[in-house]
Symmetry: D3
Subunit: 241 residues, 6 copies
């Protein structure tokens, strides 16, 4: 079965990265994965959320908010700000991004600071949460660099993080699903890893039919191979700026 855009099953969509895309925040990046375009920004605040105090946690915190422009999707989405609440999908996604990106950093070295990551989808064609993680890690990385003088000895930055989707579509295991593939997938999985090849988060869901252990292994293999290319793209963007 040929894929909609002619890719091989184990082929990523073209990825392009612009660092320091916004004027104001400490760090930012615009990442395009095929027709999906996401802007991530990292803003630093010199205090931590109140729950850290009441739980006696020291160090800093990294939190994420995610949104989509109403016209970023095929059918216009209602604007969450005017609906008066964020939908369940938004909440679920921004919690995933936040958990994943906290692994980029040594929160103790961050000191009593909060990093706010804002991921906003300009154009959506599947894989927006993965693109947000890939972009968010770059925004944090650039933000730490801009704050360098403050981090005299060391930096809270530990390692790059990236994410990719894999899935089973029409019985075949595929990498980096576009929207149309995703909406027909029997199984949909997102894998978040560190540049050193360890798993941070794995979320696999049988939308159509449950899957066995063999398939689980194939999906994780495929994600690992795709992530190697994404880390290379992140690395290249950071070196060329």
């Amino acid at each position: 079965m040929a894929r909609i855009d002619g890719r091989a099953n184990d082929e990523l969509r073209p990825i392009s990265i612009k660092l320091d895309y916004l004027r104001h925040p400490a760090g930012s990046a615009c990442v395009c994965c095929g027709n999906t375009k996401v802007i991530a920004a990292a803003t630093f605040e010199n205090k931590v959320p109140p729950w850290m105090k009441s739980q006696n946690k020291t160090g800093g915190w990294i939190t994420c908010e995610y949104g989509m422009l109403p016209a970023s999707t095929g059918e216009r989405m209602k604007r969450e700000a005017s609906q008066g609440k964020q939908g369940g999908r938004t909440v679920e996604i921004q919690r995933l991004i936040g958990r994943s990106l906290r692994m980029c950093s040594d929160l103790r070295a961050l000191g009593e600071r909060t990093v706010h990551i804002d991921c906003d989808v300009i154009d959506a064609d599947g894989g927006t949460r993965c693109a947000s993680i890939t972009a968010g890690a770059l925004a944090i990385c650039r933000g730490y660099r801009r704050l360098a003088p403050e981090f005299a000895e060391g930096t809270p930055f530990r390692e790059l993080v990236a994410a990719v989707s894999v899935g089973i579509v029409g019985g075949e295991t595929m990498l980096d699903l576009c929207y149309e593939e995703d909406s027909r997938a029997e199984v949909d999985m997102n894998v978040v890893m560190t540049e050193s090849g360890k798993i941070i988060e794995i979320q696999g869901t049988a939308e159509g039919a449950p899957f066995d252990r063999k398939r689980l292994n194939e999906l994780v293999d495929l994600a690992e191979s795709g992530l190697r290319d994404i880390f290379a793209a992140q690395r290249k963007a950071l070196e060329e700026i």
Copy 2:
């Protein structure tokens, strides 16, 4: 390392099940996993959500809501109804339960009906989302039986579903974490399976340190073995009523 309650690393907490626990809903179950106690109820409504119409989907729908009694936890939780919104964790959990339980049923055979699953935590000691899935599947199953005359030829019920948590605590792989273990875990994973042994959902999160493929396999092995015992307990409860 001995576990807090003296269990072996691959040992479930004692599980007890009471079916038809509530007076009004079509099906219900109360499931205790150690000190975690959850009530699940399945209520049938003779219509489907509006989005199904506008997306031309036929058949029925299964949706879930999840809540905790404010006094179910060690430190009292604020009541979400008086806070005016459900927290992010609640939203994330009820979406997971809903996705998982839709796999219990043939939605087309369900006809133009919505099944509302309500999972409410009476006492919490870790693993409430897994206990909710295990209880919810039983509530659906009992609900279909009570509606039997309406489902003359067949039943929309396909298969039992259950869930269990596994994790890495102090470097060791452990089954069915209690709250204290969960809050110290380096990796926390929930696995939802069908009685026939296939994966519906796998969600693994590195809270402390990322993990490799070998660990992923150990965790899924452990979950599979624990789920076999949970399915046996579900089966026994259904046969004894």
Copy 3:
């Protein structure tokens, strides 16, 4: 006219009480009045609401929240947490319970503490607000006992409180209405008293037809006689634990 369940007009439904029903809160009780089942919990917090400071009030405070499991009623109720607000009936009931239970205690002796009472209805068959008051008084009482060492000299506990409903149904004066009687009642009244036989709150509403002074007296007489039995059941539960 025989009552639905064969009771005499001046007869309570069977009442059963389990103290310390929950694992975490300082005090708790599960009270069943016929088919109505309510869990009440008392949690202590070492601060008082901000309005007490700004009004220069000293001592402690007792506040209540009330909720119903969505499947506790014949037709499933929408979950207030997902509706984004508590309904008018809920607000009215929790204010009544809070006012009533503040009479259990010497708020000055309580010190700078808030007692949060959570009343949650598991199964509903009429009289849930009265059962909540009866259960809440027990939860407070048990909570104070568990905190005993802190209350060296004395205890803030003053007296038991309980409540019962009475009403006029089909022209007859009846005690402790079940749901079906309540929904057909011409007059519905809730009476809250202290164990020493004084009135804390009386709320009588003509749903169908206004009533005269003679009827008012009959209703209060009936409530008083029922409350004597409820206080005996509370007392017995406290002695047997």
Copy 4:
């Protein structure tokens, strides 16, 4: 003990009534009880709330909303519209007013209409819920008259309704409490009656100390005597217009 404003314990504050106070609604009244000033309006809508349909109830409905101008009280109250919700006290009051005023009318004769009663407090000095009921009954009555041609044969109007507060202050039983008396009262009671002398609603609350049956009787006697004067004032206003 002399009262703050020199009244006898069984004396009402001066009451003044202006009918048809507003230009737009079908009926309206402005009622002043001492320094408490309330505007009530009755607006007719040619449909009934959806729950009536789903419960197969025929006839019409009467509903009430209550509000206070932020500057109507000694300390400015926060505007509920900008707070994003109505407070618990507001909800409790408007439910009481709605229940009471439904007794003014034969809801079946009203036909498929909703009467919206809006009670807004311009100046507050205690007793605003009672003044709202007294004013609301007049607004409904005037509204029915203006709609007379539509109600050819009969009118849905049944009877006038009014309310008054009584209480125990400093051990003495007093009629029609002003704010300062109300805030020091040991017992606070609101009594709603029909012009023919029957009780619609009785709500008595021990704020300070519980009370016995003898006191209950004294309070209701006092309310009845005050209500006779209020009905006379309502009647006079209706005759003089």
Copy 5:
């Protein structure tokens, strides 16, 4: 073209003013412009909003809230408090009033105080935002006088402010539109000025057809002439009290 109520195009509606209309707030005024009736209140609070601190602004602040009684309009408006939010029109109007009234005062001389202006529409017939500004200026002015002893040397009061609407209706330039004129207007403009004749705010909107510079000038001329009469009425009311 004759106007609905027979006025000349450059003629104001009759204006009447009652100062100190409410019992509690420091200053208040009730202003009627034809059939439009607005109550404004000024309440003083001894602190400033948090954003002033974080922006290092000294002095005081003046803020406004605006509301309409539900029955103040021809068709009953839904109560914003029960809708759970203020509508866009309300928000826009109260921001305009707030900006305009801050020009009445020397905010530095006000000291660390907030003046809350509450404008509530009792009867509406067009021009409610202008009447609110005219009434609000008087409420502030009276409020400062009542606080006089506190403002020993000087007073924060600078100058009276008032507002009027003008518009193009059926091609003609008209002053002080009533509701029916306003709803048919091609152009609708509100002009806020100081008593010394300077512009504070001008808001002109082409509802039907855009307009040219000549018309702009005619509209501002007309507003200036109307405002001279409104300032005279304000001045007279202040002198006669």
Copy 6:
């Protein structure tokens, strides 16, 4: 006084326009005015808002929503979606944009359709509401062209619309204020015009000191001259695509 960026007082910031910037909506444009960058999208829906039916209005409707990316400003703004409501400034701006853009179109020729305009600010440096209007008019224009076959005979498009800010800063009249100028301005004015040179909306606010008629004229003159250049840029972009 030289301006911050060296411009003459009557000089616009550089303007750049990209049409069809987004993949999904019928029309879109990205407009940069200096460092302010706004994306506008026009989406068509085949129905009109309910209030049009109930007011018997025929034809179509154009409505606007406005938002800012949290990291678009110097200090990160809180995301309105997670705050649960749109702020007053947002509401005011989107109402202004909506009113202005309705003038682009013959709403009757539009037929029973709603055009949703979404204006989202990517980078903010003053003048975002004006850039949104300029971008929104282009999005509508492109949207109509893409829908051309449906609009066989004619098009609902009437005329281009654009907006610019002017102000008095340090006593001087200036065109197209950047953020820093705007925050120090004594007077801030936004002027919306049609390409044929007529005024649609004029909003002038004295932030610091009221202004006289002479200044009003200077400001409008300056806005007119700036708008001629903006219309030229819009025209050029439309011709080059």
